[in-house]
């Protein structure tokens, strides 16, 4: 099943296609690239599908440029669902401007908290101060959450410091670690094995099951990193953001 649609109202042409994956999911895919407008559309589609509040839908997962809908195929016919979804996508307003939140994340860079910062400097042929400036001067979009609870995929990193992930992942990356993997930057909410280049650490809690909203970040948020001293990091550690 392949639907290709041009939305003439837009100056930007938005191709999308809707297809089943496996026997219990349906995927809406836009063009496969890292693009904030496409991602905005993805978030809107996911939200609109959730608002349908259908019993037969188990979960809706937006990623960079696609939305996966998990459903019960014994309670919902995939063609019917695809039709309803296509209708939703077509009805989206041409321009999607949302009130996004900007979240400031304090980070202590380098030293014991950023063991790969020196490698990044070698990669980008820059000083530590320059690398920190390149990381902190950009506003990053939260494209999606995935991998582990609350882990944000942020983009885009300045190409000078966009070092690929490690070929051999670390067995343990500390919770709060800020990392780079190519054009993406992210923060580890929990201690897990990981292959991203670790440049610093934040005391901010990214995932809290006790909280009403379990994750700090949502797709579409903007993140700004701020460099703080080790002293401030130790002072902030454990306190609410």
């Amino acid at each position: 099943m392949l639907f290709l649609f041009e939305q003439e109202e837009l100056n930007v042409v938005s191709f999308y296609n809707v297809r089943p994956v496996g026997d219990s999911s349906l995927v809406v895919e836009f063009e496969s690239r890292l693009d904030s407008e496409i991602n905005e559309r993805v978030i809107a589609v996911a939200e609109a599908i959730r608002c349908l509040d259908l019993d037969s839908i188990c979960d809706v997962v937006p990623t960079f440029y696609s939305v996966t809908i998990y459903f019960n195929p014994l309670r919902m016919d995939v063609e019917q669902l695809a039709s309803a979804v296509k209708h939703l996508v077509d009805e989206l307003p041409a321009s999607l401007k949302r009130e996004g939140r900007t979240i400031r994340i304090p980070v202590v860079y380098g030293g014991e908290y950023g063991p790969d910062l020196k490698e990044i400097c070698k990669f980008g042929d820059c000083t530590i101060e320059e690398a920190i400036k390149l990381h902190t001067e950009k506003n990053y979009r939260v494209y999606m959450l995935g991998f582990i609870p609350g882990f944000p995929y942020l983009g885009r990193v300045n190409s000078r410091i966009a070092m690929p992930r490690k070929s051999i992942p670390r067995l343990k990356v500390q919770a709060g670690s800020v990392g780079i993997a190519g054009l993406q930057t992210g923060i580890y909410p929990l201690e897990v094995p990981g292959g991203w280049q670790i440049i610093g650490r934040t005391p901010v809690k990214l995932f809290d099951i006790q909280s009403e909203e379990p994750t700090l970040f949502k797709s579409g948020d903007t993140v700004v990193f701020e460099s703080i001293s080790k002293r401030d990091f130790l002072r902030l550690n454990g306190l609410e953001p």
Partner: protein
Amino acid sequence: MSIRIIKPGMLTTVQDGGRQGFQSFGVSVAGPMDRLSYRLANLLVGNSASEASLEVTLIGPEIEFKKNTIFAVTGAEFDLEVNDCKISMNTALRISRGSILSFGLRNRGARAYLAVAGGFNVPKVLGSRATHISSCLGGLSGRPLTANDCITIGTINNFFEELPVTRKPAIILPEGGSRLRVILGPHSDLFTSSSLDELSSKRYEITAQSNRMGYRLTGPGLNLVKKSVFLSYATSMGSIQVPESGVPILLMADCQTTGGYPNIAMVISADLALAGQLAPGDWIEFIFCNRRSAIEALSFQEQAFEM
């Protein structure tokens, strides 16, 4: 407290139907590896379908019951005893306070489910009691059970049937391996045709580097037509991912919510329970089928289960 773990077995975790609805936050579904046997256990003891049970893996536990209740064990065939008396699988039985349930030798399958009337009472996390080990969520403190753990259990619901009650097993357990039916995955067209031939005609084996997150397989390598980079997309139990090494991984119940490796095929929903009964050393033969057959198989399975 209602039960005390004397010996925990190899990997015993609290599992209910799974943590649905939070995958967009990176929260995995977890839940039973063999959903059919899990559902049968709850059915036998008069519980609702998604009550929490214990999932037992390969080597079973020894458990002291400190409360009278009704219980049942389904799934992998184990020799079972209560106070040194042999008891049957797939049977709802009364057990009295002070009794000890022991799992002995395992004959077939990999995972068993112990359900008790009223379910196991651990705090719900994001609506579910399922344990997700790698993110330490749910279950008993987010981890497998250990010796001396104590868990409270619920109360017996109105239960009118004469006990013991035996039902036929939820699935036919694999012996040494299994065929698993698959549908072409979202990236199957990016693989070489010889790769698809290999996948559908050769045996793969589950390596020891396998767990509830996924089974790493050995067998013929699978290759993309050309090297590509994939932005992360949503993944689920049954997805067969192929990292750069070319050797596939079959994602299971605790898999991550998203992944960046190409997905060559998906095990059909009706065969996931069978996949959940496989262990390292078992073989897998993947058989391609179409979506319509997959849904028919699921429908047939549901009807058979309800009978």
